[in-house]
């Protein structure tokens, strides 16, 4: 098994009430990324509602997002790791889309109740690879009720020195 540094990308809680891309990841150029875990929950409503979300959807054109901040939205699993190789940007790694870009293959979809949220932990064989420069997103399939929503990816960077 390849050993590489692990990181998380999170939106830190954003009010979402539309079917937008909540989180977007653009892999760097030094190696692919494998997605280890994806989660989507909320922390502000006690109203039951049933939804489906694409936890991993490939993007052929990036959504326009709020740029992620290293150390705030992109966090190291191990503090002594080097910085993540992700490309940060408003058409790259970030959160809360204001324009959707172009969706590609919908790799992973989960239905869930809003009171529980969705959590996907990949078995080793299931880990979804994002090639160098590739883009994935996490997106509601229909507009959800308004709530403070927490979206997160855990991933490993398969990179050389």
């Amino acid at each position: 098994m390849f050993i590489g540094p692990c990181f998380t990308l999170k939106n830190l809680g954003v009010t979402i009430a539309t079917a937008i891309t909540a989180l977007q990841l653009k892999a760097g150029t030094n190696g692919p990324v494998e997605v280890l875990r994806a989660s989507l929950g909320q922390g502000s409503t006690a109203v039951s509602a049933q939804y489906a979300a694409a936890l991993v959807i490939r993007k052929t054109a990036a959504a326009t997002v709020t740029i992620a901040v290293a150390g705030t939205n992109v966090l190291k699993q191990n503090p002594v790791n080097p910085a993540s190789d992700l490309s940060l940007g408003t058409a790259a790694t970030g959160f809360t889309a204001s324009a959707e870009g172009t969706d590609g293959e919908e790799t992973l979809t989960r239905a869930f109740n809003d009171l529980n949220g969705a959590e996907w932990l990949a078995s080793p064989e299931e880990r979804i690879l994002v090639p160098q420069g590739g883009i994935i997103g996490m997106k509601f399939k229909v507009a959800p009720q308004s709530a403070t929503r927490y979206a997160e990816y855990s991933f490993r960077e398969l990179r050389g020195g």
């Binding site: 653009k26 760097g28 150029t29 030094n30 740029i67 901040v69 290293a70 150390g71 705030t72 992109v74 190291k76 080097p82 910085a83 993540s84 190789d85 992700l86 490309s87 940060l88 940007g89 408003t90 058409a91 790259a92 790694t93």
Partner: protein, 95 residues
């Protein structure tokens, strides 16, 4: 091509020597408890940028020059504001 943020004026906290560093991430510099009538409501954190990479290879990469410039403008006051990136420049990086 991607872009990194270069700071030519990083001061070593122990030797006081000045060297070049590249932006890696923000770190929490201050954490203050927020209380109302004695009850803890939460904590308010202040962050500051770190320029720990000695090579662009190990720095945080930005997709475009405009994205790196947006970070240098650092519009979030609780992240130190633009003065936290005083003297920094954007540098292109192949890789």
């Amino acid at each position: 091509m991607r872009f990194v943020i270069k700071n030519p004026n990083v001061v070593d906290p122990q030797t006081r020597e000045v060297h070049t560093g590249y932006f890696t991430e923000f770190a929490i510099t201050k954490s203050v408890e927020v209380r109302l009538d004695g009850a803890l409501l939460g904590t308010e954190q202040t962050r500051g940028p770190l320029f720990e990479a000695q090579s662009p290879k190990w720095a945080t990469k930005f997709d475009t020059q405009a994205d790196a410039e947006l970070q240098i403008r650092n519009e979030f006051k609780n992240h130190g504001g633009p003065e936290a990136f005083a003297g920094c420049v954007v540098q292109s990086f192949e890789g």
